[in-house]
Each structure stands twice: as C-alpha cells, then as structure tokens.
Symmetry: C2
Subunit: 353 residues, 2 copies
Amino acid sequence: MKSRIRLLFACGLITTAAPACAFDILQPLPKQPPIPADNPQSKAKIELGKTLFFDPRLSVEGTLSCNSCHNLAAGGDDDGAAPRAGKTPLERSAPPLWNVAFQTVLFWDGRATSLENQFKEHLTDARVMAMPSGEAMIQRLQTIPGYRDAFARAFPGPSPVSVDNLAKAVAGFERTLLTPGSPFDAYVRGDKEAISVSAKRGLARFDNIGCLSCHFGVNLAGPAPGPAIGMGEGFYELFPNHLGSIYDEKYDLARDIGRYAVTRDARHRYMWRVPPLRNIALTAPYFHNGSVADLGEAVRVMAKTQLKRDLNDQDTADIVAFLTTLTGRFPELTLPRLPDTPGLSLLGGHASR
Amino acid sequence: MKSRIRLLFACGLITTAAPACAFDILQPLPKQPPIPADNPQSKAKIELGKTLFFDPRLSVEGTLSCNSCHNLAAGGDDDGAAPRAGKTPLERSAPPLWNVAFQTVLFWDGRATSLENQFKEHLTDARVMAMPSGEAMIQRLQTIPGYRDAFARAFPGPSPVSVDNLAKAVAGFERTLLTPGSPFDAYVRGDKEAISVSAKRGLARFDNIGCLSCHFGVNLAGPAPGPAIGMGEGFYELFPNHLGSIYDEKYDLARDIGRYAVTRDARHRYMWRVPPLRNIALTAPYFHNGSVADLGEAVRVMAKTQLKRDLNDQDTADIVAFLTTLTGRFPELTLPRLPDTPGLSLLGGHASR
C-alpha cells in the first residue's frame, strides 16, 4: 500500500494534476475500451447485443431483462432492490454496468474475468435469468425470426445462434456503455478548475489515508485490463479488513464470506474485488449487500473497516465531493424494438396461469 | 348486432373500402387522440410522464416500472408473464398500451374510464406498484430534486408534486403512444392493394360472422371516446357468451367472473370490455387470463364461444391475415435519464437485505 502512495506523490498528481504520470494511478476515461481479440466489435453485434440486453425473454418466465437489474436509465445498477426470476433472492447488490468494459474482475467475488463469462453464468443462475440450460435459451431464440436474422448478420458462419455468440453480443453492447466527460476526467487531463476546492481536498485525503492504494486506475477499481493478474495485493481486498468496528453488526458486514464461497481457500475469507468508483454517487446503496444507503456513511465505513481511520465531517464531505466528480455524461440510448413472434407467445398461453 | 352488420354493408366497406363511411365502423388511426379538457398536453408534461413511466421507484420495492409489464420495446404488454411487486400475482394479462389513448374503457373489467384513474389504482394495488399510499409516493418523489423541478415545470402552480399530477403526467405520455401506418389504415383510407387477398377475405369473414358487432371503431374495441356511454350492447360482452364448448375447460375461461367482481351485479357475470385489436399479432398470449398462446387458436375460441361458429382452417388463416394488417409502425423512443438522488438510495440500505 505504502509504495502506491509514494508513486502517487512521485507523479505529483495531488498537487499539479499532471496528466503525464506514467503510473496510471489516476486516469481519465479512455475514448475506447480494450476489446478482446476473440470478440471484435461490429455494428451488427452491438445492435443485437443491445436488443438482447432489453429483452425479458432472456429470463425463464419473461419477467427480467438485463436492464431490470442493470438499469441503463439510471446508474446501470439496481437501486438495491433487484427483481429476480427465481424464488431465491440474490444477496448481493447489482454492480453498475457503465464503464464495465474497463473491469477485469467481475462479480463481487471476482469469479468471472470477462463480460462474456459473467453473462453466461447469469443466464442459468436460478436466482437471475434462471434458464434451465443454454440449449433452452438457444431453442427459444431460434423461434424468433428477427433474432435468427440478427445473429446471422452479427456472426457470419455456421450456427450463428449459440450461447457463445449470445454472450459475445451482449458483452459487445456492454463495452459501448461509457460515461466520459466527468469533472474528474477534466481535472486529470489538466483543468485544475474542473473540480471544487472541497473535491481537491477530498482527493488529497483519499490519497493520504490510503484509499488510492486499492482504488486506482481507469475505474478506480484496481489494475487496468491487461495480461491476467493473479489474485493478490491491490486486486482483491479483505472487507472488513479490520473486524470489530460498530459497522460489522450495523451493516451486517461479516455475514457474507465473499470469495471464500467460490474458492474455499481460507485466505479468501471476506475477500472482494475492489468496487469501481465511477458514477459512485449514482449507484447507492453501497457495498456487496447494499446495506448503506448514503455515500458519506459508506466513506466512513470504508475508512474505519479498511484503514482504521475515523473521519471527521469535513473529511467525509470532502471525499464525497471528490467522489461526486466521478459522475460522467450518459449517452442517449434509443429503446430497441424487440423482434416479435407474430401471433404467438413464447411464454404465456398456459391455462393454469 | 344485426343492425351493425347492416350498417357496415350499407357503408360498402367490405367491397369498396370506401373511406367516407359515416358510421366509423372501420377507422384509420387518427393523427391525434382525444385529450381530456382537464389534462391538456404539454412538452414538459409528456417528458415527465415518460421518465416516470420508466422509473422503478414508482413501485414499493423499486422492482417494477410501468414499462416492466407494459413493455414499449414490444407490444406494450407483458408477454403473459408480468413481474409484480407484491406477493399475490395478477390473474389477468397486462393489456397493450399502444394506442390506449383511444380507449374509453380500461382494465379487463372496465373499472376505469380514464388513464389517470387507471394509473392511480395500479399505484397502490398490492399486486402491482404496491405503494402503501399516494402520500408515500409523493413523499418519495419529493426527495428527488430532478422530479421536484420537472413537476414544477409541467404543473405551474402550488403543490406541483401530487398524485393527481403524477397520474396526469403518466397519462399524458401514454396518450403519445401511437402506432400509425398499418396496412389496415392504408386500406381503410382507400389503398385497396395495401392488404393481401387473404386479409380481405378475412375482413369479410370477420364481418359476416359477427366479429365487427363488437370489434369496431379506432381500436376495434367498441365505441370511440366521447360522452360517457352506459354499459350495454357492444360495450361490454359476455365471455364466454356460449358456455359449454371444449374451450371453457381447456383455457379455464369460466373461472374469472369478470366485471361481476367489481359491481356484484348478476348481469355482469363474465362481462368484459371488448379488447382492442390493433397490433394484436404482437400481443400474444390472448384473453384476460393469457391462456391462449396462438392468434389462430384465439380466433377459433372467439368464434366458438361468442358466435357459436366453427371456423375451418382457411377462414382462421384469413382472419389472422386480416388481424395482422392491424400492426402499425412503432415510433423510436429514447430511454429517459431517471433523475438521481446523488449519494443516496431511496430504497436500499437496510442491513437485513
């Protein structure tokens, strides 16, 4: 942790907002995100992915689309109250999708490393889309003429309608969801007046108490995409790192054991990915369990549980002011027209309803 | 019923598609719908209503927006599988919202006669938005700065944020949801080649077996808006009218007693509004209980239960061809940006989640 703080000071970022820092600790949002070699972008693919993203027929009972929980009319998240297809509710808050293209670690416990895999897991998760199988999903999509055509256009070649291609299309669309133009971006690019005095103090405090040791890079969520990075320092972080504060019980922080549930590796107990901070002011409630409704309180909880710091009101307000500068400009999206099955419902039509 | 059929022939609609028929039995979609005197349209009101329409914070747990069940990316309905906020599921299919401005009778049992009242009932219905009260809704909206401003713009005067104004804004937006340009409209306007030979045969059959006696007017759903019309001939219809067919059991048609549940008037047992037929090919499944997945089967069921007719395959296919000409052009909609509450969630943030 210490070394990162030193790096930051070495860059002079805090005092001069120098844009030339080689260490990528604070970065403006790039114009284009990294695109995986095996899923190049195309207009047809993005359009298809967008349509699929809004289509509730991707869930078993036709009740949920991706947008139900990752609401693109808002912060790309669920406001703490996600609908779900299955009987069992999700115990974790839906993370925001805006700028997700810059994430290398997906799900709160980091159990996926690509948007394609993240999508595939949700598709058959009984708590989310709850499709009985990928084959069932493909069979359903095959009966929708408009999708047969759109997959063929987006994926020239044999068997265009496949789970892999479905995941690629949705991920392709998700990679277009960027919110450039935040005051933070202008500041990091060198416009020293782009953020308030309070926000500047907040950034300095955010650095000097140690927040930046995890929250750095494009999304302030750890390492930027690149060669696979092993799990380790700065990548995942224990939360709560310091058990025993009043917050453990108040916000039920110690119930969910995090990545341990996936790996059964004792070192991963309470280990979580570093959550991205762009648009954080729009994605309340906070933490994996959505237990904290208020950003200031979330800052206090983090300072205490991760850094053993008690923040005063001024520090808290300043850090909130800094975090609010991470709110970007949301592009206008047109609602897609979902391809129809004329005269036929794929989901209704059972008399026992 | 007989008199209506005679009127239709007198208009020469079947044989010449004369657009000048005075009896409004078949009408193209008007350019503008009727607007109630107490809720005039304005740009600010329509924009606000659209935003509210897509906002899940209108439901108690933030899980449902109007668009969840009345999906404007599709037929404006729910594909037979509506999500709902409460524990008790709705027993009736969500009717389509496109062209709803021309409906004078709302809900399957006609218990509302304005979109404003329809909205207000849904707001506190425990199976739908499930808000504990209108006051609770207003209190929530008051905490969202963007809504305070938008209501003030749309409703100049004291106390702009009110349940009445909320309903007026949503209804105002709903009245803009029109799908002009259907082949049927072109045909009724005089373009005899706008629909296929099969569709023309279907329309003739639709008339001469008696469907038009109820399904006439702009939405083929009975009388056009105007002075309040008493419940009677052509307005509501018993369904099933002729009990005893195989369909009663097959599609569970006799379980829901329709309007009787509202009025407790014995004459209203199995009484329903006449469902609108525009875009009917896109709004499967069919009937109040969404029990029939297929339009051809729905046509057979209607012919048998309402008119004691057994249709052969050709007649059924022709009537389906005619009904498919009622599919219009859907306008492009941009997804609204939901006004935010920076740094704060109105819905999440409870540790017990």
